[in-house]
């Protein structure tokens, strides 16, 4: 069953077509979301939201672009929205912590790292450092970098997904790497890992 047939089936509410589409693209969508939110469970939840949106809005798909392009667009938008929502929640949590004296957070940290061996802590710290560095990138740089690094997409396809020129993608990825390198260098000099 090719893409057009799948979409036609979904537009008619056919669950079998939808299942085939999900099975074909679930790894791709989860991986894209993971590159932005850095948590597998969250990435899977987001991927489910992406597929639900596809099922609900399939009739709007005109076939101007590839199905994967459409999926990437929805996945990146949803992931960025989730990050914005998390930021808002963290803001309210920090307000709450100022009133509770930060007890909740302290207990959370001790629970997470209490009985892990040193090496795992270093790996975990390195991972968190990289994720933090990626999260600090401006949104467009983050999307371009994630699609290129996690999904190994060529610049041309990233340009189609982001609806920008090829030169802009090149520039975004170059700046993203430069920013990452600066942040990692800063940490390297401070010996934070």
């Amino acid at each position: 069953m090719d893409e057009t047939q799948l979409i036609k089936g979904i537009q008619q509410g056919d669950r079998k077509s939808f299942q085939i589409l999900v099975e074909n693209y679930q790894r791709m969508v989860v991986n894209t979301c993971l590159g932005i939110v850095h948590n597998k469970a969250d990435a899977e939840d987001l991927a489910q939201d992406v597929f639900l949106e596809i099922f609900r809005t399939a009739e709007n798909f005109r076939g101007d672009s590839k199905l994967s392009t459409w999926l990437y667009r929805i996945a990146t938008n949803r992931s960025l929205n989730q990050i914005r929502k998390n930021k808002r929640n963290r803001f309210f949590q920090s307000i709450e912590e100022t009133f509770t004296g930060g007890r909740n957070r302290a207990s959370e940290i001790s629970e997470n790292h209490g009985d892990q061996p040193d090496r795992n802590i270093t790996d975990q710290q390195r991972k968190e450092l990289l994720h933090r560095a990626i999260d600090r990138l401006p949104e467009k740089q983050r999307i371009a970098f994630t699609l290129n690094k996690y999904e190994e997409l060529p610049y041309q396809q990233i340009a189609e997904i982001m609806e920008i020129s090829l030169a802009s993608v090149e520039s975004l990825i170059h700046r993203a790497k430069k920013n990452l390198q600066e942040q990692l260098l800063d940490c390297y000099k401070k010996k934070c890992v």
Binding site: V22, R27, N31, L34, E44, Q48, L130, K177, Q181, L185
Partner: protein
């Protein structure tokens, strides 16, 4: 180049994005500079994390969960469609009942007023003469 660190080029060196000439210069510098070698290893470790974590195994129940959410949504949509129809109908009925009740109460109130007027015209029976207060009190004792 020998004394100056080339940290800023290393991420592009890792990704093979330098020209041949630049790449050769970087490689020469790396042979002599321990600090740049160390930072390159640090960068490599960082970038390895992406390689390790990408393409995770998707949960085998992914579609089952998705399908359940879809059913839930369908059911919810059907319910909300019913609710969309039933709610205005219910509130219209309540409103009509209220108006009808109000009208009824209003008409009852006007008839009560007429009754009150009729009552006020009736002469009160004066039975004081028939049973004086003294005899009434004496009977109680």
């Amino acid at each position: 180049m020998k004394n100056e660190c080339i940290h800023k080029d290393l991420i592009f060196y890792l990704d093979n994005e330098l020209s041949f000439e630049k790449r050769t210069t970087v490689e020469k510098h790396l042979e002599e500079c321990a600090d740049c070698r160390s930072f390159l290893a640090f960068l490599q470790d960082g970038m390895q994390i992406i390689e390790k974590e990408k393409n995770p195994e998707v949960s085998p129940f992914f579609y089952t969960r998705l399908s359940a959410r879809l059913d839930e949504k369908d059911e919810h949509q059907t319910q909300s469609q019913w609710a969309r129809l039933a709610q205005p109908a219910f509130f219209s009925l309540v409103l009509l009942a209220g108006i009808y009740g109000g009208l009824k109460l209003g008409s009852n109130a006007s008839s009560t007023k007429a009754n009150q007027r009729a009552t006020s015209n009736v002469q009160m029976l004066n039975d004081f003469a028939a049973e004086p207060i003294e005899s009434f009190l004496l009977d109680e004792l």
